[in-house]
Amino acid sequence: MNKKTVESSELVDRIESPVIEIGKFNVWFNGIHILRDFNMRFRENQITCIIGPSGSGKSTLIRSINRINDDVEGFAYQGDIILNNGHINGQNIYHNGTDVNLLRTQIGMVFQKPCVFPKSIYENVLFGIKYLKNLSKQEKQQIVEENLKAVSLWEEVSNRLYDRAVTLSIGQQQRLCIARSLAVKPSIILLDEPTSSLDHISSYAIENLMLQLKKQYTIIFVTHNIFQAKRIADYLVFMCEGQVIEEGTKEKLFSNPDKQQTGDYLSNEYCEC
């Protein structure tokens, strides 16, 4: 697989209303304050990278967006997260009447460790979507092909769709997980350090995939790898200790950050918050 050179992004200062708007958001786990008065707006169709040292709350943040923290014991929150993705408009996702399962079909999540179910590749892709709609055999075939092509996995597995998914390499498994999420047709994709378990080549494959997907999806990508952020981000958010230290375009933060800490972290991976 050829390693394509990653294009440099243009200045992205969109004027349209943000897809996700986080306002004064706080999270506690068993009393420990993880996110503090977090404010952020995520723009459509770009890759926003969230960077920062371990324990800064990056995972907690994106897990709050698709409300998967709700299942964790000891979770408490305060604040709003408002969604504007065309289907849910202007509504706080933590509002009482929100259908969380519906929400999660609109926000795809890719985890750090690839998590394929003990079924065939074919069934894995269909895992989420089969609950949403009664599909004919033809439709299923089409969905599987379409989404595996979207993650560049189709050529590699088209002749063994019914093999068990665990026989794939780790990099392929992660792409399968992405295909599975895409099949549900979300508008936003959240990724929590998706390449940290993968080798270089698979990582690059996923990065390139993101660059293609951003045309159709809003991508929020958590990473602790600064070089990766440099390669793929349009917009950067630097977090530390549960708060936004600085945000801005990739160019700005790397060449001329406002805050001392940002510069420290980006050059030395050292942050004293």
């Binding site: 065309g86 289907h87 259908d99 399962n101 519906l102 079909t105 609109q106 979507i129 609950y131 949403l132 709609k133 047709k185 508008s187 159709q216």
Partner: protein, 294 residues
């Protein structure tokens, strides 16, 4: 890209109700299980408490147990357990040490595991039958409490071996290596390092085994116990009377309310003894935790 092109809201509502239904079923079934099991405990405690008083505990039984107390039954059960412990402990400990220190061949390890732990799977009545044939008839020991102790010992050996073996296995290699580096030979290493660990594990296993053995009826009912006229066994080779077999005898006369009452009393005493052993096992498991895991 809109969600509405791939689903209808009705489908979602349907799933919501199925979800609620499923969770409700789980909840109801759990409540049913819990109530049944609570019923069990309550019945035993409630009925048993009515039968127990100091008199009951310390006098001996009369009239085939329909009258009187269970003093000698308690003694008998305790005697059997002590006997079983004394016999099984050294054998099981030795087996566990051999398995972990001397048995290096993989095949032999698995074979010994199958042979020793397989004993756990044998139904308790088979132990009783075995004891009857081998000891009472073949070796002509007659019905005696000693044979009962031996049979119970055989029953609990696997439990003790497992506990001791796990305990020994958790010793980090560094302890053995240090001892060897100091010039101790193999058996000295075993004595100083492995034995203490093995003993604490074996004690836990013994208590777990005792909790099980003291409640067993089938292994001892043919070979160690008699139902009447038995007091303290005068020697190793006389029969004894025990709690579980006493309950069996009384249960056969369930229409007699006094017999039934005594049966409940005996049951409660038995459960308390089982409980004491189980809790002690838990206690020793924590207290005698291997140094390496503190």
């Amino acid at each position: 890209m809109l969600l509405s092109d791939i689903l209808k809201l009705e489908d979602f509502m349907n799933r919501k109700w199925i979800n609620k239904f499923f969770l409700l079923i789980c909840w109801l079934v759990t409540v049913a299980s819990a109530l049944t099991l609570i019923f069990l405990l309550t019945v035993i405690v409630f009925n048993g408490a009515q039968a127990i008083n100091l008199d009951f505990l310390f006098t001996c039984s009369r009239d085939f147990g329909a009258e009187g107390g269970i003093f000698y039954q308690i003694i008998g059960s305790i005697l059997l357990i002590i006997g079983a412990s004394l016999i099984s402990f050294p054998i099981a400990l030795g087996t566990a040490i051999f398995k972990s220190e001397y048995l290096k061949n993989n095949f032999l390890q698995r074979l010994s595991s199958i042979l020793v732990y397989g004993l756990n799977g044998i139904p308790s009545i088979i132990f009783g039958i075995f004891g009857l044939i081998f000891f009472v008839h073949f070796l002509e020991t007659g019905i005696s409490w000693f044979v009962g102790a031996v049979i119970l010992a055989i029953m609990i050996i696997p439990t003790i071996v497992l506990a001791a073996y796990q305990s020994i296995n958790s010793i980090p290699k560094i302890y053995r290596d240090s001892a060897l580096a100091l010039g101790l030979n193999r058996w000295q290493v075993i004595l100083k390092v492995v034995f203490p660990q093995g003993i604490s594990g074996a004690i836990t296993g013994l208590l777990i085994g005792a909790a099980r053995a003291i409640g067993e009826t089938a292994p001892i009912m043919f070979i160690a116990t008699a139902f009447s006229g038995v007091e303290m066994p005068g020697s190793l080779f006389e029969p004894v009377t025990a709690l579980p077999t006493h309950i069996l005898a009384l249960a056969q006369h369930a229409t007699d309310s006094q017999a039934l009452k005594n049966a409940w009393g005996t049951s409660l005493v038995l459960i308390i003894l089982v409980f004491v052993f189980s809790v002690s096992a838990l206690f020793t498991r924590i207290k005698l935790k291997p140094v390496s895991q503190r």
